[in-house]
């Protein structure tokens, strides 16, 4: 892999590239699900290829290829240069990539390699969980246990001397349980995932995930829809994580800044909310789904304190955004695969905990909503708006948690939200997910404590 990478970079330099980098990748995927005791959608895959990127006078050319024959690699590298040259007259601002080169290798710590566990053994766990789902309660009418794993070997080489080898291993389990009573049908979803080996999927963890999913589906059978309006809202750690990700994480991705469309423009270093608010993205925490030691450009990554004591502190950078903005590269470049070019992304994003007790916060809130779970979300940072969805929640009446409510949509504006957050609890949990941006999907985690947000718009029926 290293030889192929050097070959591509040399060919690009010879053809006139100012800068070139290449990601040579070998990935093995396996996924399968058990749906009402029938295994379905079994898939194994071997993905091999190289993504060659070149820069000529400020113009990028990017050509991926799955053919790693030396002659093809050289030809594709030259084609990338030709592509960049063909557009260089349409580039307004020439920039140069500046970086501290790295030569290293890093491997996800693994106790039980995913490749060493047979398909039969993985299937047995899913089937057992699927069977147990229907035994939990007679109202459960459908269950789906879905497992996927990705094992990647990645060589990152660039023309300035970076030469980094990464070994990544990411298993993920999602359990869907649907329950029905009279005319009410509800679904629960729970996830288990990090980076590591099959030890992450031990039976106790998987069983707890099943129970979380089934309990949610059953509890929601008695849920009512919430009346739309403006409420004081306490988000649970899962939904706090979605808020951290959608409302702030994406807005801190520096490609929005280079393009000059972010609503946070001109506010780096400025106060956006209460001093108790700290939002970080940290890919260096071992064992999480969004963890990596070096990013996909071979930059050593680190914890990024995006919002520190209420101030917008730093951004998520690639080599390009850091060079263009003349700031330190924070190692946030990621790619879904060799087919894509690196762009700034989050890893593990979270609100740091505060000091409130959850029950005290509910009591203090008196009237409002507790909103919970990962129902999805999206943002448009040029518009400065975001929306995210809860899977369920509870009314707060007279300072107590009461009636369970169904999922709903919460919307807000980036600039207005941080000033509405006035309390963070001392609990903490991260949950696993997948983030989509520019057609690229990458594994990540998000989380935090229970937090309170005043006067949020909550959609209703």
């Amino acid at each position: 892999m290293r030889d192929i990478g050097h070959m591509a970079v040399e060919a690009a330099r010879d053809a006139g590239a100012d800068f070139a980098d290449v990601r040579v990748e070998r990935t093995q995927k396996f996924s399968i699900e058990v749906h009402d005791s029938i295994p379905r959608k079994g898939l194994v895959a071997k993905i091999t290829g190289a993504g060659i990127r070149v820069l000529v006078a400020g113009s990028w050319g990017f050509c991926p290829t799955s053919n790693l024959d030396p002659s093809n690699i050289r030809e594709v590298a030259r084609a990338a240069v030709e592509l960049a040259v063909s557009n260089k007259d349409r580039v307004k601002k020439v920039f140069e990539i500046e970086l501290d080169t790295c030569v290293d290798e890093a491997k996800t710590p693994v106790k039980v390699p995913l490749q060493n566990v047979s398909i039969e053994e993985k299937l047995a766990l899913l089937k057992e969980l699927n069977k147990e789902a229907s035994d939990i309660d007679a109202r459960v009418f459908n269950s789906r246990t879905a497992y996927q794993e990705t094992v990647t070997s990645l060589q990152i080489i660039n023309s300035l001397g970076t030469d980094v080898h990464l070994e990544l291993s990411i298993p993920w389990l999602k359990i869907f349980v649907a329950a029905r009573e009279n005319s009410s049908s509800q679904r629960g979803v729970a996830r288990l995932g990090g980076s590591g080996g099959f030890e992450q999927m031990n039976y106790e963890n998987a069983r707890a995930t099943l129970e979380e999913s089934a309990t949610l589906a059953l509890e929601k059978l008695d849920s009512t829809t919430v009346k739309g309006g403006t409420y004081d809202v306490i988000t649970d750690p899962d939904l706090t994580g979605v808020l951290a990700h959608e409302a702030f994480g994406h807005a801190c991705e520096a490609d929005n800044w280079v393009s000059n469309v972010t609503i946070f423009r001109g506010r780096l270093g400025k106060k956006l909310g209460s001093e108790v608010i700290n939002i970080s993205d940290d890919p260096t925490i071992l064992g999480l789904r969004g963890s990596f030691a070096y990013d996909w450009e071979g930059t050593k990554t680190r914890k990024r304190e995006l919002i520190k004591n209420g101030r917008l502190n730093e951004l998520l950078h690639t080599l390009e955004t850091a060079s263009r903005m003349n700031l330190e590269c924070t190692g946030a470049a990621r790619c879904e695969s060799f087919m894509f070019e690196p762009i700034p992304r989050m890893g593990n994003t979270f609100f740091e905990p505060g000091d409130w007790k959850v029950e005290e916060l509910i009591e203090d809130t008196k009237s409002g909503l507790i909103l919970c779970g990962i129902g999805g979300g999206y943002t448009m940072s040029s518009r400065g708006v975001y929306a995210f969805m809860s899977t369920h929640g509870y009314l707060i009446e007279s300072g107590e948690r009461s009636q369970i409510i169904r999922g709903t949509t919460i919307s807000g504006e980036h600039l207005g939200t941080l000033v509405k957050i006035d309390a963070l609890c001392d609990d903490f949990r991260m949950n696993s997910g997948t983030c989509g941006k520019a057609d690229q999907h990458v594994p990540d985690m998000s989380g935090g404590p229970h937090i309170r947000i005043r006067n949020m718009v909550v959609g209703g029926q």
Binding site: C63, N142, S185, R187, S259, S382, R383, R406, G459
Partner: protein, 449 residues
């Protein structure tokens, strides 16, 4: 390309036969995609992607396996065949599986889905097309600081499907997609909107129209305000209906979901579920349709399926698997994004059939209401509930647009929405596999800041 893909496929089927694999399906794809991105009047990235690969499904009895690789080298393809068969051997039996599709005498003739001018576009021509849209946008946004983002994607895709039941078919398609996002910054606010156009032929895209419309959409977003929380009528644009129906209705009539009780229309097949004016058809053989092809992702003929007519839910969307499992007719809706995906039930070109009247006619019917131009939300596929953020929308009074709405949502259950459609316009536009005019909903719950 056809001969090359068929040769690989035939060799793999012969190889599978020697390995005593009961049934084999080979899906081969070769794709070329060019993408150019422009930001702030400057080229941001140029990409040329050549993506080739094979996905192989095998059945040993009724034990199923699937494997794929990003290569068409025969030795890699043989490895994939072996991996697929290995997975099938260790898998349990699938009692619902009967067989992969069997050969057919003919496929529908589908016109307007390949344009060699798209395949032959030079990178300079791609750049010129995109910059025409950027300049048109710029020309219509003169006041204030303007930031324009644009991208143009041109794809040529060759697909061959062969199976051991004598299916052997090939198709070549082209697609083009042009999008302009513009942001206008004035002293006190930042306005953003976009426009896009897609198609299968070069002539389907009008760069000047895309640029100008994106600019007009942006200018209309000035001075948004919240509105009163109450029930109001709502006009949904084709773009909003793409999320609500293209995604959120398709999932409800997807036989995979319906047959496992995972649809908000559960148990309502052949029942009255909607306003009688609403006619919804899925048509994989539509002339010039973005997702049109003579065959679906497992080589079954594409067809026109009447899903909803006269308010009655007449048909679900089926693949060979769901059709065989439920004793229904296969509608040719096994959808595959690429060789890396298993076929699953999905839409080809979902159409809401037009009624009568322009957007202005629909708006004029509201004494007070909301026009939702853009929302990205989808309903819960099990309960049908939706609370959607109106990303771009306007408050309407006495049939006229008053102002854009700010931080506003609408809420309704899809089962109610289907019944509350009181008027369907004739301003049909084509998006990615979805064609629809604007639609007027009698009432929804509107919640605002």
């Amino acid at each position: 390309m056809k001969e090359t893909l068929f040769e690989i496929g035939e060799r793999l089927l012969r190889s599978a036969d020697r390995k005593n694999i009961s049934q084999t399906e080979v899906y081969l794809e070769s794709l070329q995609r060019r993408k150019l991105t422009v930001e702030g009047g400057s080229v941001k990235t140029a990409k040329r992607i050549n993506d080739q690969g094979v996905g192989i499904r095998t059945a040993i009895g009724s034990q199923l396996g699937f494997a794929y690789t990003t290569s068409l080298a025969f030795s890699d393809c043989q490895d994939v065949l072996e991996q697929s068969a290995t997975l099938a051997r260790v898998n349990d039996e699938d009692p619902l599986f009967v067989e992969f599709p069997t050969s057919v005498t003919s496929y529908p003739r589908v016109s307007g889905i390949y344009d060699k001018r798209l395949t032959n576009l030079k990178s300079e021509e791609i750049s010129t097309l995109l910059f025409r849209a950027v300049e048109s946008n710029q020309n219509h946004l003169r006041a204030g600081e303007v930031i324009i983002y644009g991208d143009l994607v041109v794809t040529t895709k060759s697909i061959a499907v062969l199976n051991s039941n004598a299916v052997q078919t090939f198709n070549e398609r082209t697609q083009i997609m042009l999008e302009i996002d513009s942001t206008l910054r004035t002293d006190d606010q930042q306005l953003t909107s976009y426009e896009s156009q897609c198609g299968t032929r070069l002539a389907d895209v009008d760069p000047e129209w895309v640029g100008q419309t994106a600019a007009e959409n942006t200018l209309r977003m000035i001075h948004p305000k919240p509105v009163e929380n109450k029930r109001m009528p709502l006009v949904l644009s084709p773009r909003t209906l793409e999320s609500l129906f293209g995604m959120g209705f398709t999932s409800a009539v997807n036989a995979e979901n319906y047959l496992t009780g995972q649809s908000y229309l559960n148990g309502l097949l052949e029942s009255d579920v909607a306003s009688e004016d609403l006619v919804i058809v899925d048509d994989g053989s539509l002339e010039g349709g973005y997702n049109s092809s003579p065959f679906d992702g497992e080589g079954s003929p594409s067809s026109q399926t009447e899903i909803l007519e006269g308010g009655i839910l007449k048909s679900l969307l089926h693949s060979s698997y769901t059709a065989n499992a439920s004793g229904s007719t296969n509608t040719g809706n096994a959808v595959r994004d690429s060789y890396s995906a298993l076929p699953s039930v999905g839409r080809t070109n979902l159409q809401i059939k037009p009624g009568k009247g322009t957007l202005e006619d629909l708006l004029s019917e509201m004494s007070e209401g909301i026009y939702c131009q853009l929302s990205l939300d989808q309903p819960n596929s099990l309960t049908g509930e939706i609370n959607a953020l109106i990303m771009e929308g306007f408050y309407i009074k006495d049939g006229k647009i008053q102002h854009p709405v700010r931080n506003t949502t609408f809420g309704i259950n899809m089962c109610d929405l289907l019944n509350r459609i009181v008027r369907i316009g004739d301003d049909t536009r084509m998006m990615e596999g979805f064609l629809s005019p604007s639609v007027l909903i009698e009432s929804v719950v509107v919640t605002s800041d």
